[in-house]
Symmetry: C2
DNA sequence: GTGTCTGCAAACGATTTGCAAATTA
DNA sequence: TAATTTGCAAATCGTTTGCAGACAC
């Protein structure tokens, strides 16, 4: 895994302190933090940090494929620096979000020991038949 | 399929005009409407209708399993009166949302003719191992 | 009459936007 | 100094809440 500064330079993103620290933070924390959490945790070491910059940076990182976003229907968006294909499990008791590295069809059978599956939501994105025909 | 009034009575929901029409509307329209759309379409025939009532009713219907909600990350919530297990495909060109009745593992191969799949997001909900152990 | 339902208006909260100061090349 | 980045403050907008009047049993 290249360092944060290397990843930013590769994507032609100027490696400001804020951008490097936010990307580093997401790579260290594996708990899919929100903007609020990221801001609160980084504010002490970057006293002038603003939420606007956190929002701007996350959008920039996402556009360049360095992070992905999760919308679990909680009313806010979570971010994840692990861009490899995987799915997410949210515990309805503790609210924790866990990475699950398996195909969706294995969810019922191969879930980690002790996990109880209640519901799955699958969203697919792409181009419908009508639009694909028109736009080639 | 029981009528709207029958479904409401079965769930011990008092069948007001508003509730019957909103449930009927969702069963007729298969395009996963938003609160805004539902309100705009029903306002002409129920002139005193308020968005609050649409919100209240949808929450009530959802709690009683008569509708499900979709959050495709658009910034608003869509509703669907088809509560059978299925997944949803959003077209990035026209914004249309399509019901797909198949298992997630078949998405790549058995997608309806002409559809182009770009991305899938799978969210699982339940109880994690730690919470399952504590709460039995 | 008593409890439920409706709907107006205000509040809420995550995210976005406008813009000027600060920073960088 | 010209272009980019940052961050404060205000705006946006879907959703929620408070509450009073309307309605149902």
């Amino acid at each position: 895994m290249p360092s944060a500064i290397e990843s930013l330079l590769t994507s032609n993103i100027r490696p400001s302190i804020q951008r490097m620290r936010i990307l580093d933070y997401l790579r260290q924390k594996k708990n899919h933090p929100t903007v609020e959490t990221i801001f609160n945790d980084l504010a002490p070491e970057i006293p002038t940090l603003s939420k606007t910059t956190v929002y701007n940076t996350l959008q920039l990182l996402k556009e360049n494929g360095l992070v992905i976003s999760l919308d679990l229907g909680e009313g806010y968006i979570r971010y994840d620096a692990d861009t490899s294909p995987h799915l997410h499990f949210e515990c309805e008791k503790c609210g924790g979000v866990f990475d699950i590295f398996m195909a969706p069809e294995d969810l019922r059978k191969k879930l980690p020991a002790g996990f109880v599956l209640k519901e799955t939501r699958v969203y697919a994105f792409g181009v419908c038949a009508k639009c694909a025909k028109v736009n080639g």
